[in-house]
C-alpha cells in the first residue's frame, strides 16, 4: 500500500508498541528491556553518524586556522573564535548571497504554485477539447529532466539578455508538471456537490478557486511549497551557468563554492559560511516537518 499524503513522522505505530502484549514473565520483560536499550543504542549511533559532519563543521568554524591543521583533530572548540562568522558574512558576502537565494527561491516557489494551481484547476474542474492530449504534454515534461535542456536554455537565456539576472535564474523553472499533478489530485478530492452548490450560488470559476478550492487543499499547497522551496534553494548547476562573478544575482550555493576557493588559509571562514547557509533550512525542517514529509512522499500516489 503506497504511503498516503497524510503520513507524518510522528504517528505512533500500532503493532509492536511496548506494553501492547499481555503481561509476560520476568525473563521476557528483561529481554524486552534489553531490546529497547539496544534500540536506543542503535538510534544514537545513527544520529551521531548522520549529524557528525555538520557537528564538525560547526566545531571547525570556531577554531583558529592554525588549530584546524592540528593532528589529531580537535573535536571541541575550547576557545571559540566567533570572528569567522563575521568574516564569512562580510568578506564572504554571505549576506548578499542569502538575499539573492531568498529572492530566487521566492520567485520560483510563487511561480510554481501559481502556474500549478491554474493548470491543476483546469484539469480538475474544466472540460475542454484536447484535455487528455494536454495532460499527456504535462506528463511528458516529467520525462525530460532539466539537465537535458541546459545546452539550449543557456543560449536562449543569453539571447534574451537574461544572463546574470533574476529573470534568467527563475523563469525557466516557473512551471512544474509534478506540481500540477499534485494539486490536480488534491482538487479532485473536493466533493462534486460542493462545486455544484457553489455554481448554483453564482460562484464563477475564479471565485470558486479562491474562496472554496484553495482553502480546502491547503495541505497540498504547503507540500508543494516546501518541495519547490527545497528544489529551488538547492539548485547548483543552473545558477552556476547563468550568474556572473559579480554578486548581484549569485546564489548562496555558488557563493559557498566561491568562499571555499578564495579562503585558502581560512577554512574556518568557509565552514562558518556553510553553517550560516544551512541554518535557515534547519529551522524550516523543524517547523515544517509535517509538510516536508507529505510533499516528499506524495509523489508515490499515482
Amino acid at each position: 500500500m503506497p504511503p498516503t499524503e497524510s503520513a507524518t513522522l510522528d504517528r505512533p505505530t500500532g503493532a509492536g508498541q511496548p506494553g501492547s502484549a499481555t503481561p509476560a514473565p520476568t525473563p521476557h520483560r528483561r529481554r524486552r528491556r534489553a531490546r529497547l536499550f539496544l534500540r536506543y543504542v542503535l538510534l544514537s549511533v545513527g544520529a551521531v553518524v548522520i549529524l557528525f559532519p555538520l557537528y564538525m563543521a560547526v566545531v571547525n568554524s570556531l577554531l583558529a586556522p592554525s588549530q584546524i591543521a592540528h593532528q589529531p583533530p580537535p573535536f571541541f572548540p575550547f576557545n571559540p573564535q566567533w570572528g569567522s562568522y563575521r568574516k564569512a558574512w562580510t568578506e564572504g558576502d554571505l549576506g548578499i548571497y542569502l538575499r539573492n537565494s531568498a529572492i530566487q527561491t521566492s520567485v520560483i516557489v510563487a511561480g510554481q504554485l501559481a502556474t500549478s494551481i491554474l493548470a491543476a484547476y483546469a484539469f480538475a474542474f474544466l472540460d475542454f477539447p484536447f484535455k487528455r492530449t494536454l495532460f499527456i504534454v504535462f506528463l511528458a515534461t516529467l520525462m525530460i529532466p532539466f539537465e537535458v535542456t541546459i545546452a539550449t536554455n543557456l543560449a536562449t537565456v543569453s539571447s534574451l539578455g537574461w544572463f546574470n539576472t533574476f529573470a534568467g535564474l527563475t523563469i525557466p523553472f516557473l512551471a512544474t508538471g509534478f506540481g500540477t499533478f499534485l494539486l490536480r489530485q488534491a482538487f479532485l478530492q473536493i466533493p462534486r456537490d460542493l462545486r455544484e452548490a457553489a455554481q448554483l450560488d453564482g460562484y464563477g470559476n475564479m471565485r470558486f478557486l479562491w474562496f472554496v478550492a484553495l482553502p480546502l487543499v491547503r495541505p497540498a499547497l504547503a507540500a508543494l511549497g516546501v518541495f519547490s522551496f527545497l528544489g529551488a534553494w538547492n539548485q547548483y548547476l543552473w545558477p552556476l551557468l547563468v550568474t556572473g562573478n559579480d554578486n548581484s544575482v549569485r546564489t548562496v550555493q555558488i557563493g559557498l563554492k566561491q568562499l571555499l576557493n578564495t579562503q585558502l588559509d581560512q577554512i574556518n571562514v568557509s565552514l562558518a559560511g556553510t553553517v550560516i547557509a544551512v541554518i535557515p533550512l534547519l529551522i524550516i525542517l523543524v517547523v515544517f516537518q509535517k509538510q516536508l514529509v507529505r510533499s516528499l512522499t506524495s509523489g508515490a500516489v499515482k
Binding site: S66, A69, F130, A155, S158, S159, G161, N245, T262, L264
Partner: protein, 470 residues
C-alpha cells in the same frame, strides 16, 4: 461579447513551433570568418589621436587579483584616475583567472565584455583565436609608444606571429619555498637549497628520513614547461607556436623524461606526496610546510606575500625562497615568464580602446611597476623599476622577493625561453597531470607516461585546430 471558438489544437502548434524553431534557428552567432589579421598595422583605431578627439570616457577593467594584490591595484588605479580627467577606469574584480576567461568567452555571445581585461598566460592563443582583441602592436603604433626597458622575455611571451598581442602585467615564476629550520635540523645547509632536480630528490629523502617532512609535490603541469624552457627546449612545435600555429607537442625528450623520473623517484621514496592545482586541497602543499608535513614545495612566486603571511603563524618555520631546481646541472635556457597580461578588447569603441591603452601604459610605467611589484611580489617589469629605491630597499630587507626577477632576467632569449603558445593549453595541461598521476597510482614508467601525455596532447591539439580552422 462573443466568446471565441478555441478550436485551435494547442499541442500540435506547440510541438510544431518547437520543431520549426529548432530547424530554422541557426546554432550560433552570425559573425563571419574573417581572414587572419594581415601583417599591416592598424594605427588609427587605438591611437593618441583617437583619444584626443573624444570626450572623457569610462572603461571597465576585468581583473582577478586576490585581496592584498587587489588593493595595490586599486591604489594604482585611483592614482591614474585622479592624475587626469580623460579616462576613468572601473575595476571589476573576478574570482580567478579561469573565471575571467570563462566569463570573457560567455561575453562573446551575451555581450558583457570589458574594455581591458587581464588574462592568464595560457589563454594567449585562445584570446587571439576569439578574434575579439586589439593587438597591442596597433596601439604601440598608434601612440608611438616605446617599450623601453620592459623585460624582453616578458614582452616575448606575449609576442605571437611577430606581433605584440598584449602587454605583460603580473608576471611570476615557479620558485622553491623551503623551511630553513627544517633544513638545519636535518643537517642540511639552510643557505644551500637544492638547485637541481637530482639534488631535490636527495634532499627530500634526507629531510624525510630526519623526520622533518619531505616535499610537497603540487602537480602543476607548468613545471614541465618551465623545465623545458630552462633547458632551451621547445614545448610545442612551430617555434613554440610563435612562428605559426602549433600542430604537435614536442615535450617528450630527455629533459621531460628525467623530470618525470625525478618526480616518480621522490614519491616512490616516500619523501614526497602530491596534491592537485584544483579542488579542495589546492593549498595543501603550502599548509603542509606550516604543519610540518613538508619541508619544501614548489609554487608560484606570486604567492610569496600570502605564503609569508601564512607561515609566519608557525613558530617552527623560517621561510626560504630559491630558484626552481632544474634538470640540467647548468641550465642552457632560462625560466619562461608566467602570469597575466593586459588585453585591449576590439569590440569597444576606438576611444575606449585608446583609453584602455593609456591605462595599460600607465600600469607598465617605471613608477607603477615599482609600486606594483613592491606591493605584490610580482616581478618588476622594467629594469628602471627594479633599480628604483622602492624595489631596492624591498630586496635588501627581503631578498626572497628578488628570486623570481633574477630567474627571469638570466639565461638566453629564445623561442624556447619565451614559453609556449597553444590554443588548447588547458586540456593539454590536464593530459600532462593525468600522465604524472598515472605514474604514481598505476605505476606507469616515466618514459611511457610522458609519451602517453604527448600522444594525448597531439590529439587534443589536432581537434582544436580542426574546430578553429574549419
Amino acid at each position: 461579447m462573443r466568446p471565441q471558438r478555441f478550436r485551435v489544437a494547442v499541442v500540435a502548434p506547440l510541438g510544431a513551433l518547437a520543431l520549426v524553431l529548432a530547424a530554422c534557428s541557426s546554432s550560433t552567432g552570425s559573425s563571419s570568418t574573417t581572414a587572419a589579421p594581415a601583417a599591416a598595422t592598424d594605427s588609427k583605431t587605438c591611437s593618441s589621436a583617437s583619444l584626443a578627439a573624444s570626450a572623457p570616457v569610462t572603461i571597465n577593467f576585468w581583473e582577478s587579483m586576490p585581496r592584498a594584490n587587489g588593493q595595490t591595484l586599486q591604489t594604482l588605479t585611483d592614482q591614474f584616475n585622479s592624475s587626469q580627467s580623460k579616462v576613468h577606469v572601473n575595476l571589476v574584480v573576478q574570482t580567478s583567472y579561469n573565471d575571467t576567461w570563462q566569463k570573457y568567452q560567455a561575453g562573446l555571445t551575451n555581450g558583457e565584455l570589458p574594455d581591458v581585461v587581464q588574462l592568464q598566460d595560457t589563454d594567449t592563443q585562445g584570446a587571439i583565436d576569439t578574434q575579439s582583441i586589439q593587438p597591442a602592436q596597433n596601439c604601440i603604433a598608434g601612440f608611438n609608444y616605446s617599450v623601453g626597458d620592459l623585460l624582453p622575455r616578458a614582452l616575448a611571451y606575449w609576442n605571437v606571429g611577430s606581433v605584440q598581442q598584449a602587454m605583460p602585467f603580473a608576471v611570476s615564476g615557479p620558485v622553491l619555498f623551503y623551511n630553513k629550520l627544517a633544513f638545519q635540523k636535518a643537517g642540511l645547509d639552510p643557505n644551500a637549497p637544492p638547485s637541481t632536480m637530482t639534488q631535490l630528490v636527495t634532499d627530500a629523502k634526507t629531510l624525510k628520513t630526519a623526520g622533518q617532512g619531505g616535499m610537497g609535490l603540487k602537480l602543476d603541469p607548468w613545471y614541465l614547461e618551465t623545465e623545458q624552457a630552462s633547458a632551451n627546449q621547445l614545448f610545442v612545435n612551430n617555434g613554440n607556436g610563435r612562428t605559426t600555429r602549433a600542430t604537435k607537442a614536442v615535450f617528450d625528450n630527455s629533459i621531460g623524461t628525467q623530470f618525470f623520473t625525478d618526480l616518480k623517484q621522490m614519491v616512490s621514496d616516500g619523501s614526497a606526496t602530491t596534491n592537485s592545482t584544483g579542488g579542495a586541497d589546492v593549498y595543501d602543499n603550502l599548509l603542509g610546510v606550516g604543519s610540518g608535513k613538508y619541508s619544501m614545495t614548489i609554487d608560484t612566486s606570486a604567492a610569496l606575500g600570502t605564503v609569508q603571511q601564512l607561515l609566519s603563524q608557525y613558530p617552527n618555520v623560517q621561510l626560504g625562497v630559491a630558484p626552481l631546481p632544474t634538470v640540467q646541472t647548468t641550465p642552457t635556457g632560462g625560466v619562461q615568464p608566467a602570469g597575466s597580461a593586459l588585453w585591449v578588447v576590439k569590440k569597444s569603441s576606438p576611444a575606449k580602446q585608446s583609453a584602455a591603452w593609456q591605462y595599460i601604459a600607465f600600469l607598465d610605467s617605471t613608477a607603477s611597476q615599482a609600486t606594483w611589484s613592491a606591493g605584490t611580489g610580482y616581478v618588476p617589469l622594467r629594469t628602471s623599476s627594479a633599480q628604483s629605491s622602492t624595489i631596492q630597499s624591498l630586496w635588501s630587507t627581503s631578498p626572497q622577493f628578488k628570486v623570481a626577477y633574477t630567474q627571469l632576467t638570466s639565461g638566453v632569449q629564445s623561442q624556447a625561453t619565451a614559453g609556449a603558445v597553444l590554443g588548447p593549453f588547458d586540456v593539454v595541461r590536464t593530459a600532462i597531470v593525468n600522465a604524472e598521476n598515472s605514474m604514481f597510482t598505476s605505476s606507469v614508467a616515466p618514459a611511457a607516461a610522458l609519451s602517453r601525455a604527448q600522444t594525448a596532447s597531439d590529439g587534443l591539439i589536432a581537434t582544436y585546430n580542426q574546430r578553429i580552422g574549419g
